[in-house]
Symmetry: C2
Subunit: 133 residues, 2 copies
DNA sequence: TGAAATTGGACTAATATAGTCGTATTTATA
DNA sequence: TATAAATACGACTATATTAGTCCAATTTCA
């Protein structure tokens, strides 16, 4: 079953909120309350979004997160990469140079699948947070 | 991490072989030997491909599977559907009417994600087994 | 000084995927 | 007619991934 992870869903829910109110600061708590998202999990997600430069944060009381990029500059691909490490249609397309698939050497679909994967990344690169209207 | 399952990979490896030698009969054993794919698992996969009409089978000695459709008529989407039950980008897009996501009622990304899911299905509908050359 | 916030690591629980085992049935052929 | 080779099917185990929780540190405003 091809799907995106819950974490990415939570990230997109949050990013959509940020996109609707740019320059406004929201805390993890506020967002988790508003959307019934598990607080601790959402916190981790927002931290990752910050680490890759999509959000900026301020510590301490009255702290929180705010958007650090234009919503139409943030691609779904970026979000998937930030949270889940990206798309890798097949096992051998993950960073796993060592410990590769045993089929690798006589795999007949490796190359065509790699091509499809590229197209898929392109697909998600064209999808922006601003499209989640 | 967005990816396809091992079962779908095995299905595609098999289907590519069938597509290269149409009308030729192959057994589970032959294919699992040729590609180092676990025999029992591959058997299950081929049974599913038969059930949805992509392959036909003959029982008993000298039995096996052969292609039952044109390779350029078999889409990757069909294969994913047959083996893994299709693509459902988000949880709420699986057949789960009951036991839905608790966020469902005030989820802000549900509808746009549904649209993206449709495009994604369209993407995989355009990919044919015959493209795996 | 205290409350509210981010940050970060370790941990557990739940689920999904991958793979195995055993057994029944069919069928060509020796 | 016995046997070997094949599909067919269901139950099972093992492994990996995902989801979620817990705990403690640090920052900062008031
Ligand atoms: S080598 Fe082939 S079977 Fe192995 S992970 Fe890559 S695509 Fe899949
Ligand atoms: S309702 Fe929203 S959060 Fe829940 S599964 Fe659907 S898209 Fe994801």
């Amino acid at each position: 079953m091809i799907k995106i992870s819950k974490k990415v869903e939570y990230a997109l829910i949050a990013l959509k909120l940020f996109a609707e109110k740019p320059n406004e600061v929201f805390t993890s708590k506020q967002i988790s309350d508003k959307y019934n998202v598990p607080y601790e999990l959402l916190s981790k997600v927002l931290q990752k979004l910050k680490k890759c430069g999509l959000l900026s944060s301020s510590l301490g009381m009255n702290g929180g997160y705010k958007l650090d990029k234009d919503p139409d500059q943030i691609t779904i691909q970026q979000v998937i990469s930030a949270i889940d490490g990206g798309i890798s249609l097949t096992e051998c397309q993950q960073g796993k140079t060592k410990d590769n698939c045993i089929i690798f050497d006589n795999c007949s679909i490796k190359d065509p699948m790699h091509k499809i994967q590229n197209e898929l990344q392109n697909f998600f690169n064209k999808k922006k947070v601003s499209d989640l209207v």
